[in-house]
């Protein structure tokens, strides 16, 4: 389009200026502070890369990364598979469609205090009762108090809470598929799975990629639900990176050090997302 390219600049540049002022400059400032021992207040001195060296010697930080990864990857997969299935369900000709859409949206709007309390209660009281009745050993005590299984409890609740977000995006994607494609496939006698593989999935490929990348990025930054459910426990087995950054950096007064952690965190998230994006887009192209 050659007409009025000036208009396009007018559309984009003011936003760019605002963005640089309100996001980029603070981001660069934060990165700068990672090279200092700033506590968030008071005097500070420049310490160069020392914070980064200390990071790699800190076993608490390293184990928080491995837990966060395990949690994020598992939850991303679960959420996307389930969200796609539910979106398809909500898109089909079911009765009370609006009501169901409203209901499935509720977890996403419930406050984290409620979710923490309710699920803590369910995991500590209701589920163990069920486990004892059914004779399942690992379910007879609170999953969240079990060092090995606590992360699964957190995965379940995080998935429950975030599915609505992905469902909205998938619904938007499913809407873009013209109905006559399905009708044509019906006429040709294509079964449900065949239609899914050959029509649905390829058409929403872009949405799938978007959802996966955003979900992983979001879960890598998980904080609220982990604090509400286990507080990082039992012990420090479910401490996420975001948690270590907030607790250590703000309440703990080691702001500069945790800014270094945040920068490393940023690089990790970017690297993971780029890899993920490339892989998924290659699969998209295959279709």
């Amino acid at each position: 389009m050659t007409h009025s390219s000036k208009a396009f600049y007018w559309m984009a540049v003011p936003a760019l200026l605002l963005f640089v002022t309100l996001h980029t400059i603070p981001a660069l400032t934060g990165v700068f502070f990672s090279l200092t021992d700033y506590a968030g207040y008071g005097k500070w001195t420049f310490v160069g890369l020392e914070n980064y060296f200390s990071l790699f010697k800190d076993d608490r930080v390293l184990s928080s990364y491995s837990f966060t990864f395990l949690f994020a990857v598992t939850t991303t997969i679960i959420v996307n598979v389930l969200a796609l299935a539910i979106a398809m369900l909500l898109n089909a000709k079911i009765r009370f469609q609006t009501a169901f859409r409203g209901i499935f949206f509720i977890p996403n709007v419930l406050a984290i205090l409620i979710i923490g309390y309710v699920f803590n209660f369910i995991f500590s009281n209701s589920l163990p009762l069920l486990g004892q009745w059914a004779g399942i050993e690992w379910l007879s005590t609170s999953i969240l108090a079990n060092e090995d299984l606590a992360w699964l409890g957190i995965v379940a609740v995080s998935a429950w809470q975030s599915i609505a977000f992905s469902v909205i995006l998938y619904l938007a994607g499913l809407q873009t598929i013209p109905a006559d494609l399905y009708e044509a496939a019906d006429l040709d006698g294509a079964g449900y799975w065949r239609q899914f593989r050959s029509i649905t999935f390829p058409m929403i490929g872009a949405f799938f990629t978007i959802n996966m990348v955003l979900a992983l990025k979001g879960f890598l930054q998980a904080f609220d639900q982990i604090v509400a459910l286990t507080g990082g426990g039992p012990g420090t087995s479910t401490e996420s990176v975001a948690m270590v950054i907030f607790r250590g950096g703000f309440q703990g007064g080691e702001y500069g050090y945790q800014m270094a952690n945040s920068v490393v965190y940023l690089l990790v998230i970017v690297a993971v997302s780029v890899i993920q994006l490339r892989t998924l887009q290659r699969k998209e192209a295959d279709f």
Binding site: D37, A39, G40, Y41, G42, K43, T45, V47, E50, N51, S54, K57, D58, D59, R60, N120, F123, S124, P128, T141, S142, L144, A145, E147, G231, G232, G233, P234, G235, T236, E239, R247, G248, F250, Q251, G252, G253, E254, Y257
Partner: protein, 426 residues
């Protein structure tokens, strides 16, 4: 040219107008000073509102705006970053407060008339958390808590047990209850911080004198340090584990809220929490029977102390433009009438010399220790707050690995010592 459609345009302008309107508060009257009062305790908001009304009535020309802040730790830091340090503040007198005080954020209150009324033991504990310089006082204690053992006097009477004075008596009491099918303690191991009260009490009485000063003096030299957790906390760890062996079945999954309810309903003889838990226990069951005694950590009752921390620390911003008015307000809040009323309503201890005697039956077991100054500070106020002490302790109580516990504490301490460069004010 591009212009907004009707609907969104209206909505946007309405929103903008409303936003601008709400941003403007009513301008103060001529010569009227408005004090920005940062108040961190949600359950005390009504209490302080009443006190503010009293103060404003007696001091026309001064207005006090109470700001009950969500998430006070984060909020105070953002206020500092914005250069909007409040005029008067209340904060919990913990390690976080100590860090701020050390950075000379708060005013020097040592010359205030109310400073002389404070119990010396309490002021010492508060100063030990950190202050701008050795001669300053950066916070005045308005209300203290006391960390001891809460117990159900009815259950004790039923089995003929009296408040233990020595460690052996405590263990014997636990055994008696256990033998009779009553849970000796109600443990809430799901919430990591509930392992802390026992730890701090054991540590206060068992750690060597000047433990933390000597640890700090050792700097980053772990191998040559005269003190360390591994060396000096052996008995603390042993006794901690001994206590938690009496946990009721399923304690691992029980949280603090459930614990309060259970203890309030008489499901256990003792509860390892202090005065701070009393309001919550009473809310869970208004008829709860509560009494208390300090931890008899050794077999020598003369060594017994109560661990107490300043629940509500009163302080002023260092650069407050309304110094005189802020001082008036601070001294008003530190007056005997106000402190007596506040501590009675909030189940706390009054940290001033002229305090009225403790009337709450739940707290009388520790009252004499308080007035006699037989107090120790919380050891976790001496640790850098970035060490996840409660999580480490919870881990220890769950797996019983003493070597790992003490080693982790030393590890974390010296890791932080290594990455905290020598600053002039540290």
């Amino acid at each position: 040219m591009f212009h907004l459609k009707q609907g969104p345009a209206k909505a946007l302008s309405a929103a903008l107008a409303a936003a601008l309107l709400t941003s403007c508060a009513a301008p103060p009257a001529e010569n009227e000073v408005t004090l920005d009062f940062f108040q961190f305790k949600p359950e005390a908001v009504q209490e302080f509102a009443g006190l503010i009304d009293e103060f404003e009535a007696a001091n026309p020309g001064i207005r006090v705006l109470q700001n009950n802040v969500p998430d006070p730790d984060t909020a105070i830091r953002t206020l500092l970053v914005k250069n909007k340090t409040p005029d008067v503040l209340t904060l919990n007198g913990n390690a976080s407060f100590g860090l701020l005080a050390e950075a000379c954020v708060f005013a020097d209150l040592s010359q205030e008339p109310s400073a002389k009324e404070v119990l010396p033991a309490v002021q010492d504990i508060l100063n030990a958390n950190g202050r701008c310089s050795d001669t300053e006082i950066n916070g005045l204690p308005m209300a203290n808590n006391a960390s001891g053992i809460l117990y159900n006097p009815e259950i004790f009477a039923k089995y003929g047990v009296s408040a233990p004075q020595t460690w052996d008596e405590l263990i014997a009491a636990a055994e008696t209850f256990k033998a009779n099918g009553v849970a000796p303690f109600y443990m809430t191991l799901k919430d990591a911080w509930t392992t802390s009260p026992a730890l701090v009490n054991l540590a206060a009485q068992l750690q060597p004198d000047g433990f933390f000063d000597r640890l700090r003096a050792a700097g980053t030299d772990r191998n040559n340090s005269p003190v360390s957790f591994s060396k000096d906390y052996q008995e603390v760890a042993d006794k901690l584990l001994q206590l938690f062996k009496y946990a009721q079945p399923g304690a691992v999954g029980v949280d603090y809220a459930s614990g309060n309810k259970a203890f309030a309903d008489g499901k256990a003889a003792m509860y390892l929490n202090g005065s701070f838990a009393v309001p919550a226990i009473r809310a869970a069951n208004p008829d709860a029977k509560i009494a208390s005694f300090p931890y008899p950590v050794t077999n020598n009752p003369a060594n017994t102390t109560v661990v107490s921390g300043v629940d509500v620390t009163l302080t002023m911003g260092r650069e407050t433009p309304h110094r005189a008015e802020a001082q008036k307000f601070v001294n008003f809040l530190m007056s005997k009438e106000v402190i007596d009323k506040y501590t009675k309503n909030q189940s706390a201890f009054a940290p001033i010399r002229s305090a009225a005697p403790q009337q709450d039956p739940a707290l009388q077991g520790m009252a004499s220790y308080f007035t006699a100054g037989r107090l120790d500070g919380y050891m976790d106020h001496q640790l850098p707050p970035s060490i996840p002490l409660v999580n480490i302790t919870q881990q220890f109580v769950l797996d019983g690995d003493k070597a790992r516990f003490l080693n982790t504490l030393d590890n974390e301490w010296f890791k932080i010592a290594a990455r905290t460069p020598k600053r002039g004010d540290q």
